[in-house]
């Protein structure tokens, strides 16, 4: 018997738009558009300091969005990203602070331990989220709001809301203000992270399993994949990336702060949605998400340069998010009709 592969001729403009969105996504053309627009219209955009800021914002948003994307791919949400940023920041600062008293001559070693402590605390908090959601099968959205409340409460009890000073100089110099070829060090880290996430999703069995759990959890389980392990894994990754952001903030500010990361979770979700990650799970492309991050960062910068009140800027992000979600929905509906035929 023979089956021709589904090759419905693409005729209508609407269909063509959907096909384009499927392949390339919304984020790349949007970010190209806004970057070009800024280059043409705004001379201050290319100023070195400004570029530096844009790239830093881009890196921070993209890192957090990568973790969020993995969680969204499994069909869930992680709203505890902001709390984990704060937790990692305070942990890194406190641990390196305390260790400096013990090993005053081994600053580098102390800094590395501090960073490791921050990152592992983030990953552990993520595993905790994953356990609640996979084993107790709690609603991911409300459960991560609850764990946010717990984590933030704990951070405040620990620090009384006061910044933890005394972060090792190496950290502020190398991580916070580090530059390679005149670009922020964090940018390189972000690009590497994008590549790693892409590689894991596309080239390893574990990545296939993440996509499968998001696409059809029951089928994945029957195929011998443990959804629990996958869900714990993606939440751990989300926690880890959030912690990375937290450590970076600590290094940049020179102190551990509990008020950091308030907007990070929302920015991460917005970037992921603009980056075309389906909210029903099963698909996601880190490269598109990266462009989602770039778009958000440049829009923020444009609004700043235009002296739009920062209070009013959120409105733009709200509209962008709704528009992206709407397009995601529209293309999905088209895909489903295709499947029925």
């Amino acid at each position: 018997m023979t089956f021709a592969p589904n090759s419905a001729p693409v005729l209508r403009l609407r269909d063509r738009l959907f096909a384009f969105n499927e392949r390339v996504g919304l984020a790349l053309p949007l970010s190209v558009l806004i970057v070009t627009g800024m280059l043409l219209a705004e001379p201050r955009f290319v100023a070195k300091m400004n570029m530096f800021n844009v790239l830093r914002d881009f890196s921070v948003i993209t890192l957090a969005a990568l973790g969020q994307m993995l969680v969204l791919v499994t069909g869930r949400f992680d709203l505890s990203v902001g709390a984990i940023v704060a937790l990692a920041s305070v942990t890194t600062a406190s641990v390196s602070n305390q260790l400096m008293l013990v090993f005053p001559d081994m600053i580098g070693f102390v800094a590395v331990l501090g960073v490791l402590a921050g990152l592992s605390v983030g990953a552990i908090a993520g595993v905790g989220n994953g356990w609640l959601i996979s084993t107790l099968k709690l609603d991911a959205f409300i459960a991560t709001i609850a764990t946010s409340s717990i984590i933030l409460g704990a951070v405040f009890v620990w620090t009384y809301g006061v910044p933890v000073y005394g972060v090792p100089k190496v950290l502020t110099q190398w991580v916070g203000r580090g530059q390679i070829f005149g670009l922020p060090g964090l940018l390189y880290l972000t690009l590497v992270a994008v590549f790693i996430v892409w590689f894991v999703l596309e080239r390893t069995a574990y990545g296939r399993h993440i996509l499968a759990v998001g696409s059809n959890e029951a089928a994945a389980e029957i195929a011998g994949i443990s959804p629990k392990a996958i869900i714990c894994g993606v939440f751990a990754a989300s926690g880890f990336f959030a912690a990375l952001v937290g450590v970076y903030f600590t290094a940049r500010m020179g102190s551990g702060q509990s008020a950091l990361g308030a907007n990070t979770a929302m920015q991460a979700i917005t970037a992921a949605v603009i980056g075309g990650v389906s909210l029903r799970g099963g698909s996601g492309n880190p490269i598109k998400v990266m462009f989602g991050g770039l778009f958000l960062a440049v829009v923020g910068n444009a609004l700043n340069l235009a002296r739009v009140d920062s209070k009013f800027q959120v409105l733009v992000f709200g509209v962008v998010l709704l528009a992206a979600a709407f397009l995601d929905r529209a293309t999905d509906r088209a895909a489903r009709q295709e499947g029925q035929r």
Partner: protein, 520 residues
Amino acid sequence: MNDKQQMQAALGTQDEHVLQMSDISKTYGVNRALDEVSFDLRPGEVHVLFGENGAGKSTLIKVLTGNVRPDAGTLTINGQSCGFLTLRGAKAAGISAVFQEFQLAPSLSVVDNLFLGREKTRRGILARAEMQDQARQVLAELGFAIDLEATVGTLTRAQRQMVEICKALLLHASILILDEPTASLNDHEADALLDVVRKLRHRGVGIIYVSHRMREIHEIADRVTVLRSGRYIGTLPRAGLQEAKLVEMMTGRPIAALYPEIRQDPRAMRIRISNLSTVNGAVKDASLTLRAGEIVGIAGLMGSGKSEIGQALFGLLPIRSGQIEMDGTLIKPRNPSAMLARHLCYFPPDRNVGGLAVSRPVLENGSMTGLSLNMFSRFGFLRRRNERSEVMKAMKAVRLRPLDLTLPVGSLSGGNMQKVLLARGLVRNTEVFVFDEPTVGIDVGAKAEIYDLLKSLVEKGAAVLMISSDLQEVLRLSNRVYVVTEGRTVAELCGDQKTEDNVLKGFFGHAPKIRKEGVA
């Protein structure tokens, strides 16, 4: 099980059993799904499992695949007693199943799905070329042409079926379970599939084949085992297979006793559908008529669009073109409430998904269709006493057991859930009933009760459109039968033309021409 044993299983002689299940029992709550059922399988044979929905076939299969843990009984594979199987254990023992509900991840590609959970890797990196080679080999062996990189979500049902079968074969199964594999295939596809089954049988694979289609059973069955209400009824050898005998074993009563004699008395034309097509493309060109006082059946394969005709008529699916007339006037079914107001009610096939709010009580499910009626509410507030008495009346009419309006519907048996669904048509003045799979998954007793209800509705002058995959039911209860293939009504059968053969011919596209206007 190691490789050596697998080899033995594959080369096993005819008198040696690859599988023996004895006295397997499984109880869900008060419901006995399996009651001391025994079953065996020899290498290189096709053993058909026959029975109604709910007879215990799927539970038996799930025991084999490790999805269900039985309460009692023994299981022997290749002469080794192996206690009970886990999902992993079943796979290790070479058991592989293709279910009717596909176990595929729609957003992944074909090749990803084929190797899901057992991907080939080189130093942790997916060995894509290797997987594609293997997949291509199996596809070629089976004679399927599917694009390995296509996203499964864009494939047709038949193509997905092929992917499932390839998946099972890639495992080198020694026991292969096929659960109604031809339910969504056309003639050629089904023939090709049967060829594959013969090929596998020749290779020594033991095959458990679930099917209702006599044609297939005649062609490939070596033995047929019949189950009914969770009990083992008997096993027939290939010689001496007779349809009447099988159906009698399956239902536990002579065919005539299950299906009531319905006095069909077609009167005024209620519904006339001409050249209907839906926006989603599932219905392409459907025409039919329905009169008061008759049952009109619609037969079709899974995914043929038969169900969508009912949905479009009820305003659940947007219509692209075509006309619907009700009592001689053109209508546009905008939404269900408008159609309910026209005294037409559609009863969806899947009680749990589309039909009932299972966590809510019988009362609320029963009055769902009537909330806007003056009988049930006034000024936006419910008239709870009326509601209770009307729903009670309807539930008594359908003989709901237990007759308790406060129970959540999810706690009832399939048959009683179907009765609650049916009662929704009775709480308001319904004259045209559209049933989609009215007896799927319910036991014989409940089935007979539903048929009696249909009989009394029709004989009181209601018009009934019955969309069903159960050929016996459609053929024996309907006054006329339409056959639907690929969204088109390709044949209208009445009187002596109503035979299984004619329906199947219609499915596969060489049917007698459709007549313009059908009155028996």
